[in-house]
């Protein structure tokens, strides 16, 4: 029991994932700033942001909303993100082998933050948040099918293994999955799904600063908003980690840790560059993008996998 709590709260769950994610968030902001000819924030800026929201800022509750759900939603988001972090990172760091079928649990848990943002935004009683919430719903419907097909393709490639540790071990014994044609296609699909899950441009329409002024998060302030930031930091770490685990043979001990860090940074760099070289799509265009193009890619990848390519 105690060791499970340690896994959840300290390593590799909440605190470890959040701190790493905050550092990655600094990396994101620094790279964005350099692309845009700006200087960028200092290394500890994400921590300053978080602790200012948590300790200094007051909480303003919407008068026309459901306060209980409004407060519950950010906690649920953090719980989902941290839980997904535990299930992804334990097999990845080879601390615990996980269990059969944990990939599907991870899939559900990764949906939890987006889901709680929706209920939080709808509970806030703000029309802009409601539009943001409906956009987030449409976005989830668009990319979740692609994402589950992506996971299904990985399961096929690993020889029908449903647990993450075996997927990683299959790659470590042979070649990483990304070394094949279908693997490259799956990597493209995975990166775009992560982009949408992280609500980064071009898929940031639920937040859409210039249209909805932060949309789903418009009513959040103070500690509840700090919780949302925390969930976002965790997601920024565990989604690239998940892609690295599924396609790029995870992490080996020793010098492998350095490679693992570089692989994570590479995936995050790719996400940030996509974010900085595209305008925001409309929700209809994003749905079309996932329903037609990404699903097509992932189906091609599945077919190629069946032929062993």
């Amino acid at each position: 029991m105690a060791v499970n709590l340690f896994y959840f709260f300290i390593f590799p769950g909440l605190i470890f994932a959040a701190v790493t994610g905050a550092l990655l968030s600094w990396f994101d902001r620094k790279i964005s700033a350099r692309v845009q000819f700006r200087k960028g924030p200092p290394l500890l800026q994400p921590f300053y942001d978080f602790f200012k929201l948590l300790l200094v800022k007051e909480t303003i509750l919407p008068r026309y909303g459901s306060t209980f759900i409004f407060i519950l939603a950010p906690l649920l988001a953090v719980f989902g993100a941290a839980m997904a972090g535990v299930f992804i990172l334990l097999p990845l760091f080879n601390i615990n082998t996980g269990f059969r079928g944990d990939m599907l649990v991870i899939f559900y848990l990764l949906t939890l933050p987006s889901f709680s943002y929706i209920i939080g935004s709808l509970a806030s009683g703000n029309p802009l948040a409601a539009v943001g919430g409906s956009r987030e719903m449409k976005l989830i419907i668009s990319y979740e099918l692609t994402f589950i097909l992506f996971i299904a393709a990985i399961i096929m490639k690993s020889g029908q293994h449903f647990d993450l540790r075996t997927v990683i071990e299959t790659q470590q014994a042979g070649t990483p999955f990304i070394g094949s044609i279908s693997g490259v296609l799956l990597f493209v699909v995975g990166v775009f799904c992560a982009q949408a899950k992280l609500a980064m441009v071009p898929f940031d329409m639920p937040e859409a600063e210039a249209e909805l002024s932060e949309g789903i998060f418009i009513e959040y302030s103070g500690p509840p908003y700090a919780m949302i930031k925390l969930a976002k930091y965790i997601m920024l770490f565990i989604l690239p980690a998940f892609i690295v685990a599924l396609l790029m043979n995870g992490m080996r001990p020793g010098i492998g840790i350095l490679w693992f860090v570089l692989k994570i940074l590479g995936v995050v760099l790719l996400l940030v560059l996509i974010k900085n070289t595209n305008p925001r799509l409309k929700i209809k265009q994003a749905s079309g993008f996932f329903f037609i193009w990404m699903n097509l890619l992932v189906v091609i990848a599945v077919v190629l996998t069946a032929f062993g390519l």
Binding site: S32, V35, Q36, F37, R38, R63, Y64, P127, L128, A130, V131, S134, R135, V201, P202, D204, M205, A208, E209, A210, E211, L212, S213, N276, T277, N278, P279, R280, L281, K282, I283, K284, Q285
Partner: protein, 401 residues
């Protein structure tokens, strides 16, 4: 009638840098109707102008708008010079046109950046504003100010552009041209920008004529309306340039017109610099003794369209009446055509596409009783009305509609 959601854009909203309120009545994400409220920014410029001397009015009208801060003095100078029948020197004409076109350059760069930001493309935002910086530095070198240049006066300009500075200006312009190339490439060739802006917020030729829209908004729909050609002033008849138009009428066409106009601006400035080198240095004003009684209308092409100033002089040293019409006043009305039926995402970029400027636009009308000649609703009445309304809102529990 089905129930519609009110999506407020404003009074404080990241889409617009000024306070204004657009009420989008939406059915799901589709905008079914739009209403707007301005008046948050009213500063009573016209009334103030009547209490200032002609020389002071230039500083006042310059502060109507921070971005197109030369177009208002430009139009006002044209109006007053029409009353007094003054013909300014060639050097002053060239300098006026140079300032006007540099302003267009920086204003269009600013718009491209903001449009990028509204589309979520912050890289374009930062790049465009970085490229705008040398233009502002150039302003500082020429006029002493990065904004509100204080260059105009009745009968000429206040400062000369010395011939020794011309090579520096040419250098900045040739750099600017390269940067516009880069920016135009990034915007015009990006497939995702095409997907977001083509066919969005379309204004047909007929819409433009119906709503009397002006400036790049009109030119993007194929209406070649440009005061610099239609009612030539300053040095514009002396240089060779063409009016840029596009056919689409959508947001993309508006961006295209603005990007291509920047090249024209650079070319006009270069020709004006050639002109400056030919005329005698220091010959920038003509002496004006008095402004006679009379009326004058002055027009100037601001970056956003036609600025119109109407001045009535009673022979004293300040205008008896000064009427201002800014381009946004007519352009804002086109939202009725461009936004209804679009999704919220499209409507917001359509709102931004005319580059509206609210503080230019805000005017107040006073009502008089015809029979008695007494003013209806004076200041005290308005304050009482406002207090009454606030009390009503407070009783009904916040301003939810």
């Amino acid at each position: 009638m089905s129930r519609k959601t009110l999506i407020p854009i404003g009074p404080y909203h990241p889409l617009q840098e000024e306070p204004e309120l657009f009420k989008l009545f939406c059915d799901g994400e589709i905008v079914r109707d739009i209403k707007w409220e301005t008046g948050y920014n009213h500063r009573s410029i016209e009334k103030l102008s009547e209490s200032k001397t002609y020389d002071q009015v230039f500083f006042l009208v310059e502060r109507i708008c921070g971005i197109c801060s030369t177009s208002h003095p430009f139009a006002f100078a044209n109006a007053v010079e029409e009353i007094a029948g003054i013909e300014i020197t060639d050097r002053a004409k060239y300098i006026r046109s140079i300032i006007g076109e540099l302003e267009r350059l920086h204003s269009h760069l600013l718009w491209v950046g903001l449009a990028g930001h509204f589309l979520g493309y912050n890289t374009v935002f930062m790049w465009a504003w970085k490229y705008r910086e040398p233009v502002l530095d150039l302003f500082e070198m020429i006029t002493g100010n990065r904004n509100s240049y204080a260059m105009f006066k009745v009968g000429g300009v206040r400062r000369d552009i010395e011939n020794s500075k011309i090579p520096v200006i040419r250098k900045v312009l040739s750099d600017a041209r390269k940067k516009i190339d880069l920016l135009a490439g990034a915007v015009m060739d990006d497939p995702v920008i095409h997907a977001r802006t083509k066919g969005v917020g379309v204004l047909t030729r007929q819409d433009i004529i119906d709503y009397a829209a002006v400036g790049p908004t009109a030119r993007a729909s194929g209406v070649p309306i440009d005061i610099r050609k239609d009612d030539p002033y300053a040095a514009y008849p002396l240089v060779n340039w063409k009016v840029i138009t596009a056919e689409g009428g959508d947001v993309f066409a508006k961006a295209e017109v603005r990007l291509l106009e920047m090249y024209e601006s650079v070319s006009i400035i270069e020709q004006c610099l050639d002109g400056l080198e030919k005329v005698r240095e220091g010959d920038i004003t003509v002496k004006v003794n008095e402004i006679p009684e009379g009326i004058g209308a002055g027009r100037a092409e601001a970056p956003r369209g036609e600025v119109f100033h109407f001045v009535v002089s009673d022979g004293s040293n300040s205008p008896a009446r000064h009427k201002i019409r800014a381009p946004s006043y007519v352009n804002i009305a086109t939202f009725k055509k461009s936004c209804i039926g679009q999704t919220i995402a499209d409507a917001t970029i359509s709102l931004a596409a005319v580059d509206p400027c609210y503080c230019c636009t805000e005017r107040m009308a006073a009502a008089y009783d015809v029979s008695s000649g007494k003013r209806l609703l004076n200041a005290n009445d308005l304050i009482a009305l406002s207090l009454k309304r606030t009390e009503e809102i407070r009783k009904s529990g916040a301003g939810h509609e």
